[in-house]
């Protein structure tokens, strides 16, 4: 008898259509077929709220104009311009404007609850990029409200939870946002938060998967010029003062909670490959993802 699983996928930064799950399905469905599991894929689309907030607060236009003033050659309408706009908007609303971040988490929580329809125990969640920060926040907030985590499992692709903000008052630390969500954990350290979050899952049900060449979740060193700005040459880390991936202690805390952090290497350590190395397709096609996804479908 074949099992049935619901897979809910959450997108990351950038523009996404309501049916963005179609981009994920060609990777997920064949894996499910091979394991004999009947799969239903649903997309947790939250770009609509980000767009609505952007239209009201006019963030992306302001920030892109500011970047232009600072000398970044962003030609209006170009790809780099669009990517910069999306990046500023998503990061601003989620990590800088705290009240809007709460609004986004609550919207996602509502959408997630409607999508699962009480089937949390059979629901595997997959988040990519900012979606892989949002999902832990939503689940942890729910844990604070109910005292339990009902979801089957979680895969976080290129999660920014490993990032450590040097200016948390200005740009929130994605992991430390969790500290504010449950008042009993307001004094917890990063490792304690990570351990406690990991511990509310069954063994190996929480899985971080990171590309070693992805700036969002790995300490990538470059010897390269910035795309479109050849006079800016980077030797070493692009953002040297920011921790981008989990520290050894943090990985240990995840392991103690019986969860996993897996790494793979894809793409060139070139600045022009930054976006390509972060793409969701790279993650969905990676061996650690395939293995983990198959294992969780059978679990």
């Amino acid at each position: 008898m074949s099992q049935q699983k619901l897979v809910i996928v959450a997108h990351g930064i950038g523009r996404h259509a309501e049916d963005f799950k179609k981009q994920w399905e060609p990777f997920l469905l064949p894996l499910a077929q091979a394991t004999g599991v009947k799969l239903q894929v649903e997309g947790l689309w939250w770009d609509d709220i980000q767009q609505a907030l952007d239209e009201k607060y006019d963030i992306s236009a302001t920030a892109t104009a500011l970047a232009g003033q600072l000398g970044f050659p962003l030609q209006a309408g170009g790809t780099a311009y669009q990517q910069a706009r999306d990046f500023y908007k998503d990061v601003f609303f989620y990590l800088c404007a705290h009240e809007m971040s709460t609004f986004l988490q609550i919207e996602c929580a509502k959408k997630l609850r409607r999508l699962t329809k009480g089937q949390e125990g059979h629901t595997l969640l997959i988040g990519h990029s900012l979606g892989a920060a949002m999902l832990p926040h939503v689940i942890w907030r729910r844990f604070g409200s109910t005292g339990e985590n009902l979801f089957h499992s979680l895969i976080l692709l290129a999660s920014p939870l490993g990032m450590c903000s040097p200016l948390p008052g200005l740009v929130a630390d994605p992991l430390e946002i969790m500290r504010k969500l449950i008042k009993e954990y307001q004094t917890a350290s990063r490792t304690e938060l990570l351990g406690a979050f990991g511990d509310c899952w069954g063994p190996q049900r929480l899985n971080f998967i990171n590309n070693r060449r992805d700036l969002v979740c790995a300490e990538v060193t470059y010897e390269d010029s910035l795309p479109n700005i050849p006079h800016v040459y980077v030797k070493g880390h692009l953002l040297p003062d920011i921790q981008k991936e989990f520290s050894g202690q943090e990985i240990e805390a995840v392991a103690t909670a019986r969860q996993t952090v897996q790494k793979f290497a894809f793409g060139e350590a070139r600045l022009k490959a930054m976006v390509a190395n972060h793409a969701v397709e790279v993650y969905l096609a990676s061996p650690p993802f395939k293995t983990t996804f198959r294992r969780l479908l059978r679990a």
Partner: protein, 312 residues
């Protein structure tokens, strides 16, 4: 002649009552009888787990301490049942259990999953207590989403800017689920900061344009009651028709035939219109002014692209 006055008085009274009823967003109280049965079952199960002594044999004293704390907390809930505030009892117990888990996890070296007794406790908690909190959670997020939409994304809310988005993080206006303040509904504050550049028409001996940098606090009127699933059950007179109002201060420039002069002002905002009292510091004169912070309605009248030149 007295009839209209009576009507005004009745409207003001009704509005005040609607305002007072805003805080009634708590779900219907849980029947104490059902809750007693659930907590009794939880206590019975935990008594069994504590008595089994397998944790003592395994030297897992933190597990035993955790189970005892949870059992004692549940017994305290049972003792207080029947005196109202069932949801407070339930959420209080939830918080106590989360704290106990945190302490036990530290003592156990990072994980609670060291003995079957913990899984048993989790299972009986889920069945008897967690399921009720799940229902409350579902209702709360529906209400919070509705109120956030009304507060920040209402179609007539007007256009804002980056500074206004950042300013909403101030303690009075930001979300706080644990606060029971009168102006909060399921944690969402009715207060909102406004920081805008606002064009104003000044009415004096001549009608002059002016621009004000304005800042203020606006109060959003929320519905008074919600259904068990979190849908709006009852609007108030204020939430239906007024939606939001507030006071603001501004400083700016008045443009007139003699050049530009500095204005200081105080205003009363009603939805997207502000009535300003303006003081011209050069002419030492006071004026009335009318400001508008929402420009989308102009889209229907202006040729494409012109809207981008209007202030935001």
């Amino acid at each position: 002649m007295n009839k209209p006055n009576h009507r005004y008085a009745a409207t003001i009274l009704a509005s005040a009552l609607c305002l007072a009823s805003m805080v009634r967003a708590a779900p219907a109280p849980l029947p104490a009888q059902a809750l007693r049965a659930d907590f009794s079952a939880y206590v019975t199960r935990l008594n069994g787990l504590c008595a089994s002594n397998s944790e003592v044999a395994l030297n897992l004293f933190p597990v035993l301490t955790y189970l005892t704390t949870c059992r004692d907390g549940a017994q305290a809930v049972l003792a207080r049942l029947g005196h109202g505030g069932t949801w407070d009892l339930l959420t209080g117990f939830r918080d106590q259990r989360i704290t106990a888990q945190r302490i036990a996890r530290k003592q156990l070296g990072g994980t609670l999953h060291v003995s079957p007794a913990m899984a048993d406790e989790e299972s009986v908690y889920r069945e008897r207590i967690g399921s009720k909190l799940e229902e409350k959670y579902g209702r709360d997020i529906e209400i919070q989403s509705e109120l956030f939409h009304r507060k920040y994304l209402a179609p007539d809310e007007g256009q804002a800017n980056i500074f206004e988005a950042l300013a909403q993080a101030c303690p009075l206006t930001c979300f706080n689920e644990s606060s029971q303040a009168w102006y909060r509904t399921t944690g969402v504050s009715a207060w909102e900061v406004k920081l805008r550049l606002e064009p104003v028409i000044v009415f004096g001996s001549s009608t002059d344009p002016a621009v004000l940098l304005s800042g203020g606090l606006v109060f959003n009127f929320f519905p008074s009651d919600f259904t068990d699933t979190g849908a709006v059950k009852k609007e108030t007179l204020l939430s239906d028709y007024v939606k939001r109002t507030g006071l603001c201060l501004g400083v700016g420039a008045r443009f007139h035939a003699g050049g530009q002069t500095l204005l200081v002002s105080g205003g009363w905002q009603l939805r997207w219109v502000t009535l300003w009292g303006l003081y011209d510091t050069a002419a030492h004169e006071t004026f009335f002014g009318l400001g508008v912070s929402e420009w989308d309605w102009l889209k229907n009248f202006l040729p494409g692209g012109l809207l981008n030149f209007l202030p935001r």
